[in-house]
Symmetry: C2
Subunit: 240 residues, 2 copies
């Protein structure tokens, strides 16, 4: 290796480490958001207002991380001017940050609903739907982040499939809660808190699907936003 | 001007025209989304299922535009490797695209609720809240796009202020609709469609605020996501 090669080798090592660093920080932020989602679900099920307030406080950290890591992405773009797959990685990370931040917001809304439901005295009926959909969506978040960490497009496709399952569960839960409200109109205010929380969880699932789409874009170079599951599966298969 | 200068002048002209082109296309997409929001509101008020279905069909165009314009942004980043304010412009455009696409989704949800409400036979009571908040949010979308077109951070601050006003109107409308449901439980299914539509409109306002924040970032270089209105106003004033 001559001096010039050694120099450019050194530069590219620095670059790789900056890329790895920003990816690691994004995944750490993802871990925090994953915990926010789990805690918000638990706070709702147990009407634990202390835990709900903790989730709300945690949202500030998530917001700050979004801004800080996105700034790192911009600096890498400006200084290193990455091309091809490195460019795609940075752009994907920047978009995942925005999805994670919105998941954090939705977890905060679940926590708000938990606090309001506790103030209203809870519900006479258990709301197992929240536990069930909360756990399902929590697993999607974890798997979407794992798929990103490993650049695993098959795992990403699985997350997109789960999103459809969550949407169906959400529809069933909504119908059962509407029936409940009609049978007991005094429960309307309380049941609405459950509806809002369910809707937020369903959104978190949508954002997990977005992250999965970014993974497929990264690995396969194909933009599968707005593609249906069959098209997505074909993209993954075709470009193998 | 010597040959070399002439050449780099030519290159920079090409670059400026690529930047202008992508900005123009994003603003055109914004115009389409603005119309989607207005049409969805009108469809809801008039229970016009034909117009609602038109809004839903339009969503495919919005999705396709997001992907196509974002691809243009990536190509500019890869080929031109812009720095400083040009880099900020491209990154902001890419983020605004995502907000516009989500606004289009929310307009589609308002249209879905209009169709469901029409199937349920409408509401005995007029829902002027939808008209009022729909118009208010429609103006925010228009002003946020105008602020972007003119790089006008004061106008952007105004949009952020309007978002707070919309949130208050939304809260009032929600409470009045919940009271209505309690007084007439047979109306629950119909009123829920109004609640969902209102929530979607409120979200569209949030996305307009996001666009306003991108304008402030562009003009002032300060990331004001998650800043409150006073901090935002101080940022605009300080860096004048």
């Amino acid at each position: 290796m001559n001096d010039k090669d050694l120099h450019s080798h050194h530069i590219s090592q620095q670059f790789n480490s900056a890329l790895d660093d920003v990816k690691t920080r994004m995944l750490e932020m993802g871990g925090i958001v994953e915990k926010q989602v789990a805690d918000a679900t638990t706070a709702f099920m147990n009407l634990d207002t202390g835990l709900a307030e903790e989730v709300n406080r945690g949202d500030e950290l998530v917001n700050a991380l979004e801004v800080a890591i996105d700034e790192e992405c911009t600096i890498i773009l400006a200084r290193r001017q990455p091309a091809a797959s490195d460019l795609r990685l940075i752009l994907s990370i920047s978009k995942v940050l925005s999805d994670l931040e919105r998941m954090g917001d939705e977890a905060g809304k679940v926590a708000d609903s938990a606090i309001k439901l506790a103030e209203l005295g809870g519900l006479p009926r258990s709301v197992l739907e929240i536990r069930h959909i909360g756990d399902h969506v929590g697993a999607m978040v974890r798997n979407a982040l794992d798929a990103f960490a490993r650049f695993d497009s098959n795992m990403a496709l699985q997350v997109a499939k789960e999103d459809r399952a969550v949407d169906l569960e959400y529809g069933t839960a909504m119908r059962s809660l509407v029936t409940y409200m009609m049978e007991d109109p005094r429960s309307i205010s309380s049941v609405l808190q459950v509806l809002w929380a369910l809707r937020s969880l369903e959104r978190i699932g949508d954002h997990a699907r977005n992250i999965a789409e970014h993974v497929i874009y990264l690995v396969k170079g194909a933009d599968v936003r707005h593609a249906d599951l069959d098209e997505m599966a074909a993209t993954i298969k075709d470009s193998k």
